[in-house]
Every structure is written in structure tokens, then in C-alpha cells.
């Protein structure tokens, strides 16, 4: 930590995939946070969020794991930071249900029967929002030691960071700038392309990867036509679909945290394997 910075502590929800197939997303998020003077405290005994928000009004049990994480962050009195797009989407939408009272909040509180009712008090922020709103992209850009000077980088938002806009409230869902501002902060040159907030195919890849290939292919060619040299994402499934499905894909796809760690000069510090595996 550098002089003049105040200590920021957040509760941290990594999610299942970040412990297995997407270790890089987690590892570089932790390394970069540490360098920026931010303490990410992993929640004790968190459970899988389910990776897909249960939209039906009568779905209660499927929301409980998210509520438990939210309640745990409330007890610790920290904002809750997520980094995976899917976890962020599920936990933020469930928190919104709890905040707005109604049927879900009532049934969840009846079932969990906590000493103090939970009504959406925890503030859920994505890692990118932490960089923008808590640390500041201006502070981040000053901390960068190895800028991606002149590199043409395409931000891929996908669906879950932005939608539904009225709940997620991260950015303008149709014309977002947070990832482009992040790219500028690490010294890169953001590429704006029309498919940056269109779907990669998501879970359909499991059942019918032809559909995922078609939709991911559109995203990739759109980025390529606009001159992208690499693509950034915050979502393990987007990374999988874009990497796996793109026909003649020559654009590499990275987690945004990996580029962040590289720009901050902390990517190879402390060995690659022993960070992020504390649990």
C-alpha cells in the first residue's frame, strides 16, 4: 500500500467458477486490490449463487444462497464486492427483491428466521464499480506501471453486468462506458463496437453449441472488424464461449483483472499458484 491512501475493506464473494475454471479472474482481482490498498475479505462459508437469477415470483429457495451471502456481509458491515458477472447479476437482483419488500422478502425472512430481518441493506458492487467509484479511475491510472499504450482493446460487457438496467444500475445498459474508461485507465485504446453488449450464448453452449457459436461469432467478428487486438470480459462463461466457439477467432480474450494486474505490474509477483487459494 502506498502512502496517503486510506484502507478500504470490502466483503468479497468469489463464486464457484472462480475457485475452479476461472482462477485467473479471482487471483488477479485479489493481487490488484492488494496493490491498490484495498482489502477483500472473502465471506465465510459462502454458497453458490446458482449462476442464473430465478425470475419467477414464486421462486424462493433458489434465492436463499444469495440472501445468506448478503446477510453475512451486512453482519460484517461491509459493502459486498463481486467479480464474476453472473454472481453479480444474481446477488444484486436478489438483493433488490429483498429491498423492495413484498412476497420474496417476507417468505425468505419467514423461512430463515434471522434475529434481525434482512431487507436488502447490503450494498452490492461489482469490482469494476469498486475501481470506478471507490478507488477512482484517475487514482488507478496513476498507479499503473506498465500501461497498455496504444493497444486496441475491446470491452465485452455481455448481458449480465448491465441488464436489467433499472436493477443493476452499473451504467447506461445500452451505451455503457465503465469498461472503456477502465481500458483508458490502464493506458489502452478502447474499441467501441456494436455487439459489445449482446449475448455470447450463455448456458445454451451445453446443449447446442452451434447456437453459441453463431452468437459468439457475431460478437467476435464485430470486435475484429472494428480493429480490436484483444477482448476483455468479466464473465467465465463469456470467455469460454468467445474462446471456444468463434470461427477463426484470432482475437485473444482475457479477464479484465488479468490486464489490470499486468498494468499494475503485479501479475507475476508472489508466484502464480499460491494466490487466491486461501479457502
Amino acid at each position: 500500500m502506498k502512502e496517503g491512501q486510506t484502507i478500504m475493506i470490502f466483503s468479497y464473494y468469489p463464486g464457484c467458477t472462480l475457485k475452479t475454471k476461472a482462477k485467473d479472474l479471482d487471483r488477479y482481482a485479489r493481487k490488484s486490490a492488494e496493490y491498490l490498498g484495498v482489502t477483500l475479505e472473502e465471506l465465510p462459508e459462502w454458497q453458490c449463487c446458482g449462476a442464473s437469477y430465478p425470475m419467477a415470483r414464486d421462486e424462493i429457495a433458489t434465492k436463499l444462497s444469495s440472501v445468506r451471502a448478503l446477510m453475512s456481509a451486512k453482519e460484517l458491515d461491509h459493502d459486498l464486492v463481486t467479480v464474476c458477472s453472473a454472481c453479480h447479476n444474481v446477488i444484486k437482483q436478489v438483493n433488490n427483491d429483498m429491498k423492495n419488500g413484498g412476497n420474496t422478502a417476507k417468505k425468505v425472512n419467514n423461512y430463515l428466521n434471522p434475529e434481525v430481518e434482512y431487507n436488502g441493506e447490503t450494498n452490492v458492487i461489482h469490482y469494476l464499480e469498486m475501481l470506478r467509484d471507490k478507488i477512482g479511475f484517475d487514482v488507478l491510472s496513476k498507479a499503473v506501471r506498465k500501461p497498455f499504450a496504444g493497444k486496441k482493446i475491446a470491452a465485452y460487457y455481455g448481458c449480465m453486468l448491465l441488464r436489467p438496467g433499472k436493477v443493476m444500475q452499473m451504467d447506461n445498459p445500452e451505451n455503457p462506458t465503465i469498461m472503456e474508461d477502465f481500458i483508458r485507465a490502464i493506458g489502452g485504446d478502447p474499441v467501441i463496437y456494436p455487439y459489445r453488449n449482446e449475448c455470447c450464448g450463455g448456458y445454451i453452449t451445453l446443449e447446442d453449441n452451434c447456437i453459441a457459436e453463431k452468437v459468439s461469432g457475431k460478437v467476435l467478428s464485430s470486435a475484429q472488424e472494428n480493429g480490436a487486438e484483444l477482448i476483455l470480459t468479466a464473465c467465465p462463461l463469456c470467455l469460454y464461449n468467445l474462446t471456444k466457439c468463434g470461427p477463426e477467432n484470432k482475437i485473444p480474450v482475457y479477464y479484465f483483472t488479468e490486464l489490470l494486474a499486468e498494468a499494475l505490474g503485479v501479475k507475476n509477483e508472489g508466484g502464480a499458484e499460491n494466490v487466491g487459494n486461501e479457502q
Binding site: C16, A22, A51, M55, E207, P236, L237, Y240
Partner: protein, 128 residues
């Protein structure tokens, strides 16, 4: 009326919380749907078929939706067609023996890189 069922319609409307009468048939949901070409019935058709009570036909055609929320975000009337598709799909998989994806199919669908997120979200969408 053949092919309509008012109990099922009532259940879909209640589970989804969607007001189908708000739809003005502009077709923007289908225009923006990344899976449009894969679907037997498209998002705008879902809305008016639910309004007409043609649920049985929809129950056979709800697995091609990617849940990307584009139709939710871009509907100028806030109808949220995705929530209807989700409610219809749930109505199918909540029945005994009607899971669209079964656990013993999973090993055959895996590869080295497939993230857990894909399996978990597919189960959320296809099974109970």
C-alpha cells in the same frame, strides 16, 4: 376454443408478473433477440399467445431462449417477454419427470474448460 387453457394462463401470468395487455406489438423484442432464428415461437408471439391462452404450444418451445434480457431491457412498454418464457419453462420442469436436462447427461457434455457456471445455470433453466 381448442389449445387454450385458462388455468395454465392464470398460472403463467401469476408466476411471471407480466401484464401482457401492455404490449403494443412493435416487435422490438423479437427484433433484438439473439436466438430469434432458433425459436419456433418468437418473443412477441409468446406475449400474444399467452394473452390468448395458447400455453400448451408454448410449453413445447421454451428451451431456445438464452435469458440474455435483451427483450426485457429494450421493450418500450416494459412488458418483459423473458419472464413469460421463464414461467412457461418452469411450468414444464416443475412437473414430475419433465426435466429437460438430467444429471447423468452432464459427463457426456463436458470438456476441460467448461466453467461450472454453465452447468449450474443450465440446471436452473432446464431442471427442477
Amino acid at each position: 376454443m381448442s389449445g387454450t387453457n385458462s388455468d395454465l394462463t392464470e398460472q403463467v401470468l401469476r408466476t411471471s408478473g407480466v401484464n401482457v395487455r401492455k404490449c403494443m406489438r412493435c416487435g422490438k423484442c423479437s427484433g433484438t433477440c439473439p436466438s430469434y432464428g432458433e425459436m419456433e415461437y418468437h418473443p412477441h408471439q409468446f406475449v400474444y399467445m399467452v394473452e390468448k391462452g395458447e400455453i400448451d404450444a408454448l410449453m413445447k418451445s421454451s428451451y431456445r431462449c438464452l435469458s440474455c434480457m435483451a427483450c426485457v431491457e429494450r421493450c418500450p412498454r416494459g412488458v418483459e417477454p423473458l419472464k413469460l418464457i421463464e414461467a412457461v419453462r418452469l411450468m414444464v420442469v416443475r412437473q414430475q419427470g419433465q426435466n429437460h436436462l438430467k444429471a447423468d447427461q452432464i459427463p457426456g457434455l463436458l470438456d476441460e474448460e467448461l466453467p461450472q457456471q454453465a452447468i449450474v445455470s443450465a440446471f436452473r433453466k432446464y431442471s427442477k
